[in-house]
């Protein structure tokens, strides 16, 4: 799987270490949230980091899938795997529909369209109190056991749920890695870098943007289902633009255009907000300051921070990278497929 690329293998091992170590460092509930939002952040990274489209409405798919799965579990007592599949499908279909409209426009219009759709679905969820519970959210969601053939593993305790979330996260991560390593990965990046030339060499740019948007919707929906089962409630916030903003936050803090950036971003964001919120009620102020600093001084996010730290401490054989001076350090997935 990593033939001949020690860097990639090392990173994957570190990820496994993190998955094991995380619940020791933070509460299992927070640790689960980190991996759940990592999936959503990876999804946004596929659109924003790889394909160059900043969507400010990912919560639409996160929330829709959460509500759908919540309702299925409450009313039909649907089993776990069915619910996960349904949520992913809902995320994908919603993203396909919303995406088809949004990709007709680019730049600011695209951002505002995704934001507009998010608000529309938010207000629908807000007012359709009979189904979504409106402002109070949808409470009373059970956590169905993991039924694998004869065995049925209960996920009631937060530690067991963490293990389950970590495993499905790894599956999602592997799936995203295959997408990014597949020709789609390079095609998406070519569209990010230069849509006109991407068309000139033969790619229907809108079609591929649509694929990226829909794939991301599927992953985001998947994360939404996991979120609904965690607290046993789908809060109205799960479809509000606040969650969309958080996901963008995570991708940016972590560093866009690279598979591990969003994970770092999600971990930093969730851990930071958990640790500080207990200490100080005005914790979003610190997140705001962090975002401003990152945007002004560290646009590559944590990924770049590590590269710089590593560079400062004698970065081994790596030669000075010629593009140090380039203001935008969008760390593209650097492994040349040699």
């Amino acid at each position: 799987m990593f033939e001949g690329r020690p860097g990639a293998f090392l990173r994957f091992v570190l990820l496994l270490v993190a998955i094991v170590a995380l619940p020791l460092a933070v509460r299992p509930v927070v640790a689960s949230e980190i991996w759940i939002f990592s999936i959503a952040a990876m999804a946004l990274n596929l659109i924003f980091g790889y394909t160059g489209m900043l969507s400010f409405g990912q919560a639409t798919f996160f929330g829709l899938a959460a509500y759908t799965s919540g309702l299925m579990m409450i009313h039909w007592h649907a089993p776990l795997l069915v619910v996960l599949a349904a949520g992913t499908l809902v995320g994908a279909l919603a993203a396909a529909a919303v995406g088809y409209v949004c990709i007709q426009r680019v730049g600011t219009y695209f951002i505002m369209l995704t934001f507009g759709f998010n608000q529309m679905f938010f207000f629908i969820a807000y007012k359709w109190t009979a189904v979504t519970g409106g402002d109070d959210g949808l409470p009373g969601i059970p956590r169905p056991p993991l039924a694998l053939g004869p065995w049925s593993i209960s996920l009631e305790t937060s530690v067991r749920y963490y293990v389950f979330v970590a495993v499905v996260f790894l599956l999602a991560f592997y799936a995203m890695k295959r997408i990014v390593d597949s020709p789609l990965g390079v095609i998406f990046q070519s569209i990010r870098e230069n849509p006109v030339r991407a068309a000139a060499v033969g790619y229907d740019v809108k079609w591929y943007k649509w694929i990226a948007f829909t794939l991301a919707g599927a992953f985001t929906g998947f994360a939404g289902v996991l979120y609904s089962m965690m607290f046993g409630i789908v809060p109205l916030e799960s479809i509000s633009w606040i969650i969309s903003g958080d996901i963008v936050f995570m991708v940016l803090i972590g560093g866009i255009g690279n598979l591990y950036g969003p994970l770092l971003g999600a971990a930093a964001f969730k851990w930071l907000s958990e640790a500080i919120s207990v200490l100080w009620n005005r914790w979003p102020l610190i997140l705001g300051v962090a975002l401003v600093l990152v945007v002004l001084f560290l646009r590559g996010g944590l990924v770049e921070a590590f590269a710089r730290i590593r560079g400062a401490f004698g970065g081994g054989g790596g030669r000075r990278d010629a593009d140090e001076g380039v203001p935008v350090r969008v760390g593209a997935e650097g492994e040349a497929r040699t």
């Binding site: 295959r178 390079v186 990046q189 070519s190 000139a200 033969g202 790619y203 229907d204 593009d323 497929r337």
Partner: protein, 251 residues
């Protein structure tokens, strides 16, 4: 019926509001030849290219590629019909490595089918080989892992041509490949363009007369959006209209 011209335009016209940038241009290019289009600045050469390559939608006239009417076809379909173009201002993928720049263009012609997308990009040996062959041809083999934005201007022009060739076209539109190059790099680029003749049909826009006259089989001259003369290098050199167009006296 085998059309003898690989590319034919009939009365091609393009208006930008009141300005008629291209006016009724009818041009045909014989397969396997190097056909140049020259003319003073603002004569509509690049606009003509943009009309042929689908970047701009013509307001009148038709474009035929290998006998097929491709007028107004989306620019992303043309590479699959055998036409590829390179741009006057370097228009590559800055953050992608040189290898990926060429690889992504080569891959677009490769039809992997749905499942193909699940395979790893490095599993496509044929595309990899094609990309390496082109990188060698344009002299960038040693710059494989470097991001395109870190290349020198000359290297980027070479990459521009490389990316164009990677779509394995039959007709190549080259828009001033030597633009802004130092003399030594210009010679290198001219040799490169000449090496393409025979394997591809080339439609070239070029300002440097010495190059155009030496390597073109056929030359079309444009002025104020119209085709004012066409012929071999000698016929065009002696043509009074061409001289007047270049010396700036109105016809």
């Amino acid at each position: 019926m085998t059309e003898e011209a690989i590319l034919r335009t009939e009365g091609l016209t393009c208006d930008f509001g009141a300005l008629r940038a291209v006016n009724g241009v009818s041009l045909s290019v014989t397969p396997g030849t190097l056909h140049s289009v020259i003319g003073p600045n603002g004569s509509g050469k690049t606009t003509l290219f943009n009309l042929i390559s689908g970047e701009l939608r013509p307001t009148g006239g038709r474009v035929y590629l290998e006998g097929r009417d491709v007028t107004g076809v989306a620019s992303h379909d043309l590479p699959h019909l055998g036409l590829a173009r390179c741009f006057q201002r370097t228009n590559v993928f800055p953050k992608l490595t040189t290898y990926d720049n060429v690889w992504v263009a080569a891959f677009s012609r490769h039809t992997p089918g749905a499942l193909g997308f699940l395979k790893r990009a490095s599993d496509f040996a044929s595309v990899d080989a094609e990309a390496r062959r082109i990188l060698d041809a344009v002299g960038l083999a040693h710059k494989v892992a470097a991001p395109a934005e870190t290349l020198s201007h000359g290297q980027q022009r070479a990459l521009e041509v490389g990316v164009t060739l990677a779509s394995s076209p039959r007709l190549v539109l080259l828009d001033e490949p030597t633009q802004g190059l130092a003399p030594e790099a210009t010679q290198h680029m001219t040799r490169l363009v000449q090496s393409l003749v025979g394997r591809y049909t080339i439609l070239l826009i070029e300002h440097k007369m010495r190059i155009v006259m030496s390597i073109s089989n056929r030359i079309s001259v444009m002025a104020f959006g119209e085709l004012i003369a066409e012929g071999t290098a000698d016929e065009v050199r002696d043509n009074r209209d061409v001289q007047r167009a270049y010396l700036g006296t109105r016809r």
